[in-house]
Amino acid sequence: MFNETIHYAQTNGHEILVALGQHIEVALIATIITILIAIPLAVVLMNHRRGGEFVLQVASVIQTIPSLAILGLLIPLVGIGTVPAIIALVLYAIMPIFQNTYAGLTNIDPLLIEAADAMGVSKRYKLLRVQIPLAMPMILSGIRIGVVMIIGTATLAALIGGGGLGTYILLGIQTNNNPALLIGAILAAALALVASWLIKLLSHTSLKRLLIGLVALVAVGGGVYGVRAATAPKTETITIAGKMGGEPEILINLYKDLIEADNKHVNVELKRNFGGTSFLFKALKAQQIDIYPEFTGTVLQSLVKTDSAISHDPQSAYQDAKNGLAQQFKMSLLRPMAYQNGYGMTVTRQTAAKYQLKTISDLAKYPQLRAGFDPDFFQQSDGYPGLQKTYGLNFKNVKTLEPALRYQALAQGDLDVSDAYTTDPQIKKYDLVVLTNNKSFFPPYQGAPLMLTSFAQDHPQIVTSLNRIAGKISTKDMQAMNYQVTVAHQKAAVVAKRYLQAHGILKQD
């Protein structure tokens, strides 16, 4: 495990550093905004007990809302990315910083306040020279709590495209990739410790220096941002996002390579592990991303409304999906690649041999087999309920479990049969057998770039570039690439480029 983690860190070093940088950036901005809200608020309310208590109550209530829910609530209001992440973090961290500042300011020895009043000092002098310095230890401890909380909660930003170290934690959970999970978790924890220690150091510094430091930080940050914005080349940036996991990451890297090879003035920004289907679809609709790879089966099942039954012929399924998207959402689904990544039913080679299983229909004879399904698959009409009707399956013992875990459970003999994605590399890794979809129950899942029709019209050259892999990449090719990324932990960018060059789609460097 240790060696694996080191290896993973070495091969993904640059991306990890970028994620760490993003994490620090988001946490820092959230911290500064929180401080700028919470401390002045506490100052204003320190002489209005009722107002102070009220704000404390509200802040406590916000704190009890799960952070995931806040992120979800913010999406319709401010979209996705770092902005809602920062808003959520600020909402969270206001409570400890406000509470400590308020307590610090209201619990100063009344004799000292009386002394200041009796000397006839101005309100401003009293605040800056007496009250805030005396409350400073409390304020700093509040900031410390807030920052640690922000750094921890910022890992959830990855769920809504905010990036950061959470990307690795999510990726680790989703794809059962422990090295990624460990790296994300350890770095986030280490970052929290370092930040806490830094603030402790700051507590020995005078208020004046703290203020100068804060101003300098904002100025330098703003300056760097400004310089970056000003010196950035005048190229167009388009954003391509991918769903969770290794395969979408390979696909978006293929897109990037194709587009950048043909269009010198286009800069492609990738957002990997960006979220689930509906999340990406909404982001595309809101033009927060420009392109993402989608599958015909998913389009027909969950995105477009169709009256007729879903076609099991790949060609007509693609046409239905394409037309549905164009009519209902003004989106363009480009031509798909060759491979299909759909649901399948899988068993180990031994089980297949023992019961002579070749097709899904063969399973109906053995209701005693222990089945384990992805929770979605277990509920969706195109999943297990549909299978029961079409093939007459009726397993006595059905469990639902995380998709990433079902292959391992099969391999260890805890399960006999499970659903599978046909391009999953674990099929190769664990030497599993995919049973034939003999009644064509599963709709074809063909991957293709999805974008707004307006975007396609404005960027014909990008459409041309992307169409260069239409009809290419077999299921076997995809499975091999998935294996290299998800199991062998190679970088998706390297795997994608290698494929394009090996198949003569791109020139060798």
Partner: protein
């Protein structure tokens, strides 16, 4: 001159001050004395409006303290609190210069002024100016508190039980310091204490307050000699008992009625004369006889009186 005109303060829990009328002459050291909760501190704070009276007026040199700018009023009144109440985040120099800073003095002007005052209260500026309050003893901190109050050279200084938290030795030092400063500076001082000895030692005039009511105002000797009521007599009992006068000797039954032809060496003395003054007289003229009103006292009477006190003490011990 400071005048209190019908100053009343009522809290929800009851009246703290009941229509106090009082005058404090300029340049005097005026002591407000009374037990805890008597209202003396409340009365003091009406001067710089840390307490706003429910009714009545406080006038400084004929000007109502409620009339002008509050900040300006306070910038010209020195204030010394019970504990030194120095700001722990500031140095001695910064603490003492707070009022000057509020008055808009430049740092360059503040430093020499504070250094001069530190010297006046026997603190070496080279050692103390840059110390933090945590590095000061209680008595040193209170000296700085006094410097802070005197910094702006106020015409009026208010002191709210400034020495009550100090040990007896430190207390005596600072009482002497206040007497010295009062002699040297043209400052009116209103001093609150519950310690009658302190009141007697410091005061030009004393006002005794109890339950928000003024009991008696006068010079210390007048109050000891003729307490206005039982409360005042009780409050000053210790001092009155320590303060033995010829009147008490006569009252205790010593001496003889003066005959029709008194001796030529007979010296007439007022009844307020202390027995110590009497003893000093006897030291010079061992045979002197003194006449108090209609009674003649001889040296033997002094000895007998002192012996009778000894008996009294012995009886008390038993």
């Amino acid at each position: 001159m400071i005048e209190f005109k019908g100053v009343t303060k009522e809290y929800q829990s009851g009246a703290a001050l009941a229509a106090i009328n009082l005058r404090v002459a300029s340049r005097e050291l005026f002591v407000l004395v009374g037990p805890s909760g008597s209202g003396k501190t409340t009365l003091l704070k009406t001067v710089n409006r840390l307490v706003v009276p429910t009714s009545g007026q406080v006038l400084i040199d004929g000007v109502d303290v409620a009339a002008g700018n509050l900040q300006e009023l306070r910038q010209h009144i020195g204030y010394v609190l019970q504990s030194s109440a120095l700001f722990p985040n500031m140095t001695v120099l910064q603490n003492a210069g707070v009022q000057l800073e509020a008055l808009g003095w430049s740092k360059a002007k503040i430093r020499p002024r504070i250094e001069q005052l530190l010297q006046m209260v026997d603190l070496d500026p080279a050692i103390y100016a840059n110390r933090k309050p945590a590095e000061l003893s209680g008595v040193e901190a209170q000296r700085v508190g006094i410097v802070r109050a005197l910094a702006a050279d106020p015409k009026l200084m208010l002191m709210d039980e400034p020495f009550s938290a100090l040990d007896p030795v430190s207390k005596r030092q600072l009482q002497q310091l206040i007497l010295k400063l009062h002699r040297e500076l043209a400052t009116t001082i209103i001093f609150v204490t519950h310690d009658m000895h302190e009141a007697m030692l410091l005061a030009d005039h004393v006002a005794v307050i109890h339950d928000g009511h003024l009991q008696q105002v006068g010079r210390p000797q007048e109050i000891i000699g003729a307490p206005a009521n039982e409360f005042v007599a009780n409050f000053f009992k210790d001092i009155i008992e320590d303060h033995q006068t010829l009147r008490q000797v006569v009252k205790a039954g010593f001496g003889q009625a003066t005959g029709p032809s008194p001796s030529p060496t007979l010296v007439a003395l007022p009844p307020e004369t202390t027995i110590y003054q009497w003893a000093a007289l006897i030291q010079n003229q061992p045979l002197v006889q003194v006449k108090v009103n209609q009674t003649t006292l001889a040296a033997t009477d002094l000895v007998s009186y002192l012996a009778s006190l000894e008996k009294e003490v012995a009886t008390n011990v038993q």
